[in-house]
Amino acid sequence: MGKWIFYLLAGFLLVGASLITTLPLVIVFLLLAYIFYRDSSVLVLAFVLGILLNVYGAIGETSMFLLLFVFVLSSYERKFGIDTYPFVLFASLIGSFLFLAIAGYTDYIFIESVIASALTIFIFRVVSGGRR
């Protein structure tokens, strides 16, 4: 129950923040949510956030991208550990870059991806207590 309340609050804040910044915070959020919860609830979250954000113009497109992103994370998890700094860095960088590129952004997408990665690493470190 607590997880869903957290999702709700964070989700609303995230969608609101997307109106004032082009930083792909949704990627950061989904990546961290999957690392910490690792269940189907993250897929539901990806679907709903995709509908709400709708950055690709047509409804459903953003959801499909975010669902695929979470699915790729789960596929990777089957063989390797995902709660490591290199993975968090790599996944957030690639995910953010693809998210922005497909959304049609052209200016500063690499810089924005780097910032998103740095933010992911920072939150990951704070939440995991620097154990990983």
Binding site: G16, L19, I20, D39, S40, L43, I51, G60, S63, L67
Partner: protein, 261 residues
């Protein structure tokens, strides 16, 4: 293992749902869902924007800058009003032409006029057919003839100034009533020609319009000042004598003129 299977099934179901939404994106209920999301989220977005946007003019410098900009705007407006009021006052103190027959119009453009290089030969006014301005009407400042309406659209009109090559009108001197034709020649002075050699014309004589009103009262009324004679060219062998006449008005500085209805 079962958890993984559930995850894969959840993924497939949700992905399919997203795909269906995408395919049916033009369907009214799906469009309504899309709009609903926007409606729900816009208050959150606007409150976040308000939170993160620094208040305008918070710092003293930016407040002063803003105040300065507003004051300059006010100053420019009041200067414009002073000029307009002065012109209107001058015009309405003028007995002839009668103020009730005048349409005040702002000069909105002086085509091909380059200050210091060329003289204005045309004005574009901000009044047109909608305000009662018609082709052929006289344009004045005080009782000085400025030009004639060449063309009028609904909201604008073109004035051919007396200095333009296109301008031609019968005129006479106010003192000796010597008749002739005024023609613009693109310079500051206009040519007062076709004057009989016997006519009595002297330097500084005032030249006024002889009038060319038609039966409807349209055209140039008589006795509008065109200018004063600055030189007289009298050649015994020529059929006519000519004069150079200079307007008493500086056309380059005009911003408000009056069309005689």
């Amino acid at each position: 293992m079962r958890e993984r299977k559930n995850f894969a099934v959840s993924f497939l179901v949700l992905f399919f749902a997203a795909f269906i939404l995408f395919v049916l994106r033009q369907w009214a209920p799906v469009m309504a869902l899309d709009n609903l999301a926007v409606k729900i989220l816009s208050p959150i977005g606007s409150s976040l924007i308000r939170t993160f946007t620094p208040p305008v003019g918070k710092s003293k410098a930016s407040r002063l800058k803003e105040e300065n900009r507003k004051l300059l705007e006010k100053l420019a407006k009041s200067e414009l009003l002073v000029t307009e009021n002065r012109a209107l006052l001058d015009q309405f103190r003028t007995v002839y032409p009668a103020p009730r027959t005048l349409i005040p119009a702002n000069v909105v453009s002086k085509p091909s006029f380059i200050p210091g290089e060329t003289l204005p030969l045309k004005f574009i006014l901000d009044k047109g057919l909608g305000s009662g301005v018609k082709k052929g009407q006289a344009v004045v400042v005080g009782n000085n003839l400025i030009g004639e309406i060449e063309e009028a659209t609904d909201d604008f009109s073109v004035v051919t100034l007396i200095t333009s090559h296109k301008f031609s009108q019968t005129a006479e001197t106010s003192r000796s009533k010597a008749l002739g034709v005024i023609k613009g020649n693109g310079s500051r002075s206009v040519v007062f020609g076709n004057i009989l050699p016997s006519a009595d014309i002297k330097k500084s004589d005032v030249v006024v319009s002889a009038g060319s009103l038609d039966k409807n009262g349209d055209g140039i009324p008589p006795n509008l000042v065109i200018g004063k004679v600055v030189s007289v060219n009298k050649n015994p062998s020529a059929i006519f004598q000519t004069c150079d006449v200079e307007s008493l008005v500086d056309f380059s500085k005009l911003s408000l003129v009056f069309v005689i209805e």
